[in-house]
């Protein structure tokens, strides 16, 4: 392994601009004569809009325009769509309710925008927005998906009777019922997966500029996938044709899913820039983010898992109600279906699985993918069930898991996924060793002697990443293909630019992608530049989400490098008068193997561009592009072990040890991969112990700022022990599985399993705040036992 190639802990190339304050984020962009947008948002969760009086706002000095939904639809700006069609089990299509970027006759969640003010300053725009008088006729609201399904619940969309979006199933119900009927033991649980707010630290922002002479738009935006944004803005929202719209996602301060979607604000800023002939900028503040950024999770499930007399799982049946909020966001339908129920086999050999999912409208912010997206919900369900079953069966929870592990690959589950590689028992062994499970009893005794409770919990997670084979997702309803593209440009001086459709918003692609190129062509990493995030520079791309950048995006780069290498060898063979097969690339040179004949890498570049002496018929230049469409999902998996100590007097829980063993396949940069795990774990622990979006019954948001929504802080979290047990993914050229979401997927059940182990009460919901843990201890009578 070289110091800069695959497997090296190369320090990040991009850090200097961030550590010196020179990063360029969307809100840092300011054009000449910049105008600012502020949205008029509904203070009610559900209301008819009977009128909008903007006269006072329009009369304010410095207000350029006040625009509303009627004008927007009048200009034929399209409704916001969900891009993944999921049918109900009876074959009927999903009931997608109309979602206008500015609501016209009805608002359906607190924060739903009804108008926008464009003004000379941000402060003025905000003040004017407060002066817009909206005549709301308040309607009853419903925020719980389970309640929204009841017959007397308020109805959100006319075309979704009973607020039901679709009623979907996967797996064989009759066979699963039969298997459960014959089970020796059944574990049954009701499991809630709490609603979360993604909270990337950079609030969303958009700067839209219309060039009247060219009839051309430029949009700077906080996006994880600028090309997809352009496609949707053009093809579905009718803002501008693609060749007249440039989307730039510059430095983006975290995404976690929340910046995948095209939001109303981006549409409105583009449209408003045309209407006012001004560059229009909008930047969310944190309070606005809580009521506009898509939320995550929010499932209520009942689950039954059956075991035979040898403690082998015979069947698993799940019924889930998923809250999608007031409108269907871009990938909302896929998250609680194909990204969720297809992972319900976990790491286990389960012959019979059935899952029914009902997705529901409520008067809440739309819900969509948040780090893990469906897979955390599946993992939490499976791993809570396994731990609970072990307790009920009186067996070691790690051994119950081991006895049901899939050991041979490939393995076809009954819920679509075909696992390609893994070492589940190896992950478990390595993690138990690293976590010193053997010493737990002594540590527990010490805690008890100190008046504290101590517990240990496992999570053996699996996820599907590298999303995804285009034909496969197409057959499941996806509105796009999920390949990735790349272009490798070797300049005449031999330096290289790699243009990728993946987008980096913290993942460190500028370093890891360069490492792969440096490794392949044996060049200094400084000579390689990764270019991303601009539709005018990169031809196309599907963006970054679902831990796909390395598995799919890098694979496209590898394919493009294959073509570059072939051409380099042809040129060198021609110049050096040798056979292509004998050409090797190493040490900055292109050589004839076994001879002293060589030319510099840069000379090959120069030769290609000078074009004075190229092989017969060869085009000049040295630039190749490639599209890579994966042949399967990838399946990162691992074992997490969490050890907690609980103060029974207050319910305060501290994580004493957190051990992660992950199988991510090939690792390009262990330092960056470990960083991804750390961050994922923090979000997973946050879900388990701290975070939760809470609405009151009227749809008012109780957790609308950092005063009430608990973001994980440094003193809430431990140092993590992060280890790897890699098996190579057989289905992509580098053997990569993906690492971005594992921590957020695997951590929550490990934490809750540990806390419930400590307190001796399995009835504990996330987030396990001190108050909730204390209440569960009270209910279990454990507080008395300790005193």
């Amino acid at each position: 392994m070289s110091e800069q190639g695959i497997g090296a802990r190369v320090k990040r190339k991009e850090d200097k601009r961030f550590t010196t304050g020179k990063g360029k984020y969307t809100d840092d962009v300011r054009h000449e004569n910049q105008a600012y947008a502020a949205f008029v948002r509904s203070p009610y969760a559900h209301a008819n809009v009977n009128g909008i009086d903007a006269s006072e706002a329009e009369a304010m000095d410095g207000v350029i325009a006040v625009l509303n939904g009627a004008q927007l639809t009048g200009d034929e700006i399209g409704n916001i769509i969900c891009g993944w069609a999921v049918n109900s089990k009876d074959g009927s299509p999903m009931n997608m309710g109309a979602w206008s970027a500015l609501a016209t006759s009805k608002v359906r969640y607190l924060g739903d925008a009804v108008a926008v003010v464009i003004a000379e300053t941000q402060a003025l725009a905000r003040q004017a927005a407060e002066a817009v008088l909206v005549d709301y006729e308040v309607l009853p609201a419903v925020v719980s998906a389970v309640k929204a399904l009841k017959s007397d619940a308020p109805q959100l969309h006319d075309n979704a009777p009973g607020n039901l979006i679709f009623d979907w199933e996967i797996g064989e119900e009759a066979a699963t019922d039969a298997a459960l009927a014959g089970a020796a033991h059944i574990t049954e649980m009701k499991i809630v997966n709490n609603r979360l707010a993604p909270n990337p630290m950079e609030p969303r922002s958009a700067v839209a500029t219309y060039d009247e002479a060219e009839e051309h738009y430029t949009l700077y935006t906080t996006s994880q996938n600028p090309h997809v944004a352009r496609l949707i803005l053009s093809a579905f929202y009718n803002v501008a044709p693609e060749h007249k719209l440039r989307v730039i996602a510059p430095d983006v301060g975290g995404g976690f899913g929340a910046k995948i979607y095209v939001y109303p604000e981006e549409i409105v800023c583009l449209w408003a820039s045309m209407k006012t002939n001004r560059s229009v900028k909008w930047t969310s503040d944190r309070s606005e983010a809580f009521v506009t950024d898509a939320h995550g999770r929010d499932h209520v499930s009942t689950a039954r898992m059956g075991f035979d007399e040898n403690n082998k799982i015979v069947g698993f049946k799940v019924d889930t109600v998923a809250n999608l909020g007031a409108y269907m966001s871009l990938f909302s339908s896929a998250v609680p279906t194909y990204l969720y129920a297809t992972l319900l086999s976990g790491q286990y050999n389960i012959a019979n699985i059935h899952c029914n999912v009902r997705t529901v409208y409520t008067n809440t912010v739309p819900v969509d993918a948040y780090r893990g997206a469906g897979r955390p919900e599946a993992c939490y369900l499976v791993e809570r069930m396994m731990e609970t079953a072990a307790r009920e069966l009186g067996v070691d929870p790690s051994e119950l898991r081991r006895g049901n592990f899939i050991g041979e690959f490939p393995h076809q589950t009954p819920v679509i996924m075909a696992y390609d590689a893994g070492d589940f028992a190896g992950n478990l062994d390595q993690s138990k060793e690293a976590a010193d499970v053997a010493g737990f009893a002594a540590r527990k005794a010490a805690s008890v002697a100190n008046g504290k409770l101590r517990g240990l919990g496992y999570s053996c997670y699996i996820e599907a990443c590298g999303i995804a084979p285009s034909a496969a997702v197409g057959s499941l309803g996806a509105g796009v293909g999920l390949w990735e593209s790349a272009e490798v440009r070797v300049n005449p001086v031999g330096t290289i630019e790699v243009l990728t459709g993946s987008h980096s918003h913290g993942q460190g692609h500028e370093t890891t992608f360069a490492q792969v190129v440096a490794d392949r062509f044996d060049l200094p990493i400084e000579n390689i530049q990764i270019v991303h995030g601009d539709t005018d520079k990169v031809q196309f791309g599907m963006g970054t989400y679902g831990s796909r950048s390395a598995a799919v995006g890098l694979s496209a780069i590898v394919k493009a490098m294959d073509k570059v290498e072939a051409k380099v060898k042809k040129i060198a063979a021609h110049i050096l008068e040798a056979s292509e097969e004998d050409i090797v690339i190493e040490g900055g040179q292109v050589k004839v193997a076994g001879t002293d004949k060589a030319m510099g890498w840069h000379e090959v570049g120069l030769t290609a561009y000078m074009a004075h002496n190229l092989p017969e018929g060869m085009e000049p230049g040295l630039k190749e592009g490639a599209f890579y469409d994966p042949v399967n999902f990838t399946f990162p998996a691992g074992t997490y072990i969490c050890e907690v100590e609980v103060d029974p007097e207050t319910g305060v829980t501290t994580i004493e040890r957190f051990t992660a063993v992950d199988d991510f396949g090939t690792i390009i940069n262990p330092m960056i991969v470990e960083g991804q795990v750390h961050g994922g774990l923090a979000q997973g622990i946050g879900q388990a112990m701290l975070e939760g979006v809470v609405y009151d019954d009227d749809g008012q948001l109780l957790t609308g700022s950092y005063m009430d929504y608990t973001m994980p802080r440094a003193d809430d979290l431990p140092f993590y022990k992060v280890l790897h047990n890699s098996t190579v993914c057989p289905n992509n050229p580098l053997g990569i599985k993906g690492c971005g979401e594992a921590g957020a997927i695997g951590a929550p059940p490990a934490v809750i399993n540990a806390i419930t182990d400590a307190i001796g009460n399995n009835d504990l919901a996330m987030p396990a705040t001190p108050q909730n843990v204390w209440a569960a201890i009270q209910a279990s009578g454990k507080s008395i036992a300790v005193q």
């Binding site: 402060a123 905000r126 003040q127 407060e130 309070s287 007097e649 207050t650 701290l690 809470v694 109780l702 957790t703 950092y706 005063m707 009430d708 929504y709 608990t710 973001m711 705040t769 001190p770 108050q771 204390w774 209440a775």
Partner: protein
């Protein structure tokens, strides 16, 4: 934020003049709450009168068995004061636990007291220690100062100048932070003073900071953690919210009181 006019008087007289000169004036002492409130458009004062440049408004001194802390003294200054440490280290601990380091560099004791947030820390100390709040016109005993949520005995445009704190025999503060805001979900300040034992509770009461009679009686006769632990704490009159039911807060009052006493 809405527009406002900023004043930075160098004397109390000028400050009073500025306060009387505006339509809706507010005193700016550290701004860590006020500016945040203005940003949310929840306050829109026509004028802000910054009292931090007034001579003698900040600083810490000790004399005659009492600590005197200027109103514009920051939390960081109190937390790191050697004088406070030697005479009433509980106050250092309390000040060092308000907000975060950057907030402590700006927030002031006078601002905290005048705002009387029901989850603020200082009111518990001031009440338990039997401090006196000195304003530009008079002296107000702590017992008479706090008057319900965000309300005090201060008249309009009355300026806190300093706080005089009798040095206690023993004192400690135990805070249980609300997980998100890190304000006190429950904070209990226990003090053994020349006037007897006082126990003040912040974060929990529906009417803001208050003294807990049961704990005072128990600790008055037996200053021990076990005496504190034996006091039944009623949830009546305690706040209930997302982060703590009244029952949970009642439990925390007992636990924090016990731990505070144990720390003395």
């Amino acid at each position: 934020m809405y527009s406002t006019t900023y004043h930075k008087p160098a004397s109390i007289e000028d400050a009073i003049a500025a306060l009387n000169g505006g339509e809706d004036t507010k005193i700016l002492a550290g701004g860590q709450t006020l500016i945040a409130t203005m940003k949310q458009h929840l306050a829109a004062p026509s004028d802000l009168v910054d009292i931090r440049a007034i001579g003698g408004m900040s600083g810490i001194s000790a004399a005659g068995g009492a600590l005197t802390i200027g109103a514009a003294t920051t939390h960081a200054e109190v937390a790191s004061s050697a004088e406070v440490k030697s005479l009433c280290s509980a106050l250092c601990d309390l000040a060092g636990g308000i907000g975060d380091p950057a907030v402590r560099h700006q927030g002031t004791i006078g601002g905290s007291l005048a705002n009387n947030d029901p989850a603020a820390d200082y009111p518990a100390a001031i009440l338990a220690l039997g401090a006196t709040i000195k304003t530009n016109t008079r002296e107000i005993a702590a017992l008479d100062f706090f008057d319900g949520l965000f309300t005090t005995a201060l008249e309009e445009n009355e300026i806190i100048v300093s706080i005089s704190i009798p040095v206690p025999q023993k004192a400690a503060y135990a805070k249980f932070p609300q997980p998100a805001s890190r304000f006190a979900l429950v904070g209990v300040f226990v003090a053994q003073t020349d006037d007897g034992v006082r126990v003040a509770v912040t974060g929990a009461g529906e009417d803001g900071v208050y003294r807990h009679q049961g704990l005072e009686e128990a600790l008055g006769s037996n200053w021990s953690a076990s005496a504190a632990a034996g006091v039944p704490i009623s949830p009546d009159g305690l706040m209930s919210d997302l982060h703590g039911t009244a029952a949970y807060r009642a439990n925390l009052i007992g636990v924090m009181a016990k731990r505070a006493v144990a720390a003395t």
